[in-house]
């Protein structure tokens, strides 16, 4: 679906805790991957393997096997966050291209350069905490390619530095590849009010008729000094469409769409819009204006029916 609609590269992960989307029913077996990689390469697209969680003491071999599998299955690059594991990849598979995952929390040039010097990373996915100006500055400071998020759910926390999920459930993106995992979610109804709980902790409750969202911890409603509300972040989606000319001008190598754990319809629609928008912005950046139909398509797939440019324009700054 992503390839048909014009993606230049697709991410995938093995079916275990070695990637940050370790949810039931997701991800691929090795046989699926072999077919998928061949198909992508036939379309001229790249396949990027996500091995972007932190290997756990006593199970490091599982993560190392995932790196071996990526090399064996023809990965164009592996996106990683764990320094110990990147060392393994460099040593065993020197030809394998490495990207630093957003989970690696490299927010400035010194951090990126360390990983380039040590592991020859070719690209870094920037955490969603940086402003457009900061990204522009980084682009001038490093020879490493930059990849930024263009559309999808918004992490308000610096990626790789958020343990809220394990605090409530025991499982986090770092240790299990999950955030607010489905096994910990319970929906209960009381007097018409829908309650969403994680490991028994009330994350949000919805009045009759109020649309209910998945109880992601940072998007819950809590009480501070007697006031109830979205203490950390309202459910919104990131949409950087109108920033495309600026990002292209900075020399950003890739725009990332949050795509896994999503329906084929989402993937097709969002990739199609981004493909058209990027082509238009590259062809005539000065006159680029996001088309209304693009925005309404993206709006249909936005979480919480709201979109934001997130940290890029920092309305809260």
């Amino acid at each position: 679906m992503a390839l048909q609609h014009g993606a230049d590269a697709v991410y995938l992960g093995l079916r275990d805790a070695t990637n940050a989307r370790n949810f039931g029913g997701l991800n691929f077996t090795e046989a699926d991957i072999r077919t998928g990689v061949a198909e992508a390469h036939a379309c001229g697209a790249e396949v990027l393997f996500a091995i972007n969680t932190f290997a756990q003491m006593g199970a490091v071999a599982q993560w190392q096997r995932a790196v071996d599998a990526a090399a064996d299955l023809g990965a164009d690059a592996v996106i990683m966050a764990d320094a110990g594991l990147m060392g393994y990849a460099c040593e065993r598979h020197p030809e394998l291209r490495l990207h630093l995952s957003v989970q690696g929390s490299a927010t400035h040039a010194d951090a990126i350069e360390l990983m380039r010097e040590r592991f020859h990373i070719r690209r870094v996915v920037l955490p969603r905490v940086l402003s457009l100006a900061q990204i522009g500055k980084l682009a001038r400071q490093t020879s490493v390619e930059l990849e930024v998020f263009g559309f999808g759910s918004l992490c308000v926390m610096a990626e790789g530095r958020c343990l809220l999920s394990s605090y409530a459930t025991g499982d986090s993106p770092n240790n299990k590849g999950v955030c607010s995992p489905a096994h910990a979610v319970r929906w209960t109804e009381q007097d018409g009010t829908m309650q969403a709980r994680l490991s028994g902790i009330l994350i949000d409750s919805y009045a009759p008729g109020e649309p209910a969202g998945y109880p992601t911890l940072c998007k819950g409603r809590f009480e501070v000094e007697g006031e109830r509300g979205y203490v950390l972040e309202e459910p919104t989606s990131l949409n950087a469409l109108s920033l495309l000319p600026a990002l292209i001008d900075m020399g950003i190598a890739a725009i990332k769409i949050e795509g896994r754990q999503r329906s084929p319809r989402y993937v097709g629609d969002v990739v199609g819009v981004l493909r058209a928008a990027i082509d238009a912005a590259c062809a005539d950046p000065a006159r680029f204006v996001p088309r209304q139909e693009w925005q309404s398509t993206l709006g249909r797939h936005a979480e919480g029916d709201q979109v934001t440019q997130g940290a890029y324009d920092r309305p809260w700054r």
Partner: protein
């Protein structure tokens, strides 16, 4: 407080040794309060003190020169001083603060992000708790870059910590949190300012009104998070004092107490008594600002959980 008489302790057996570290002050206190706090630390049985602002570089009550004065005062009192770098480094100010700490050679540095590790350029440093050292290969990598010590991620369970300690490189001093609200997340956004409907750049430094952070509770009144500017902490207070000797035995050489407006030095005293064999290891029973205790991560469950020792 469950306590056993000193006479009941087996005198002949050497007690496992550990150092007591005071982590960096995570809150924004008035200068006077900071000065008073560290003056009292000088007399406390603390071995190592981490100094500096790690959460938000807008905070300026204690200027760099004053941090250095505190550092000198504590060194004169026989403490080992470590200067901590900011955790989330993005603005020019963040970068300047990080580089300034890394550029000096008077004190050891706690490197709290990968950029600080690079700036240490092979000189000895302590890897901070947010460097995500989950296994021995990463620990060895850091050691190769100069790490003389490393703080384990707060979500690491006791069994894993034991395995990591057993596999640590020679000379590496592993450190773990034992007391205080847990630092859980960092954001570019300031949640204290958001609560007050202020922008981050004109935040009026409201975090100074909350010496132990601002608690966010669930709709059922369960204290859940603590907002501390751009940092989100647990509302519960970690208490692993009962595990102090077990940690030392597994090779964790340094136990970290995180400063709060009350209770901090009492906990330090208890740890010192446990180390001296004057007190049996037990939960401190002390928490700041009426917080509930937690130790779930240690037991491999949710961090918020509390399992009283059998």
């Amino acid at each position: 407080m469950p306590e056993i008489a000193a006479a009941a302790m087996p005198q002949a057996v050497a007690m496992p040794d550990f150092g007591i570290a005071l982590g960096p002050l995570l809150y924004y206190w008035p200068r006077e309060a900071v000065m008073q706090f560290y003056a009292s630390v000088a007399d406390a049985p603390v071995d190592r003190v981490y100094l500096g602002e790690t959460v938000c570089t807008r905070r300026h009550e204690v200027r760099h020169a004053q941090w250095l004065e505190i550092a000198q005062m504590l060194r004169d009192a026989g403490k080992e001083v470590v200067l901590s770098t900011p955790v989330l480094v993005e603005s020019d100010t963040d970068i300047a603060w990080m580089r300034r700490a890394c550029a000096q050679d008077d004190y050891l540095v706690e490197a709290n992000d990968l950029g600080a590790v690079r700036c240490m350029a092979g000189r000895p440093f302590v890897g901070g708790p947010h460097l995500n050292v989950y296994h021995a290969d990463t620990l060895a990598w850091l050691a190769g870059l100069g790490a003389a010590g490393c703080v384990a991620p707060v979500e690491m369970d006791g069994g894993t910590l034991a395995a990591l300690a057993a596999a640590r490189p020679t000379g590496m001093r592993l450190e773990a949190f034992v007391w205080g609200r847990l630092p859980l997340a960092f954001s570019a956004r300031c949640f204290t300012a958001r609560h007050h409907r202020l922008r981050k750049d004109s935040c009026e430094f409201r975090c100074m009104d909350y010496p132990d952070g601002l608690v966010a509770a669930t709709g059922e009144g369960q204290a859940f998070f603590t907002l501390n500017g751009v940092q989100t902490q647990s509302a519960t207070c970690l208490d692993l004092c009962a595990e102090a000797l077990a940690m030392a035995r597994m090779g964790v050489g340094m136990l970290r107490v995180s400063p709060h407006s009350s209770g901090t030095l009492q906990v330090v005293q208890q740890l010192a008594a446990i180390r001296a064999g004057e007190q049996a290891p037990a939960a401190s029973g002390i928490t700041p600002a009426g917080a509930q205790p937690c130790n779930g991560y240690w037991h491999g469950s949710a961090g918020i959980a509390w399992e009283a020792r059998a």
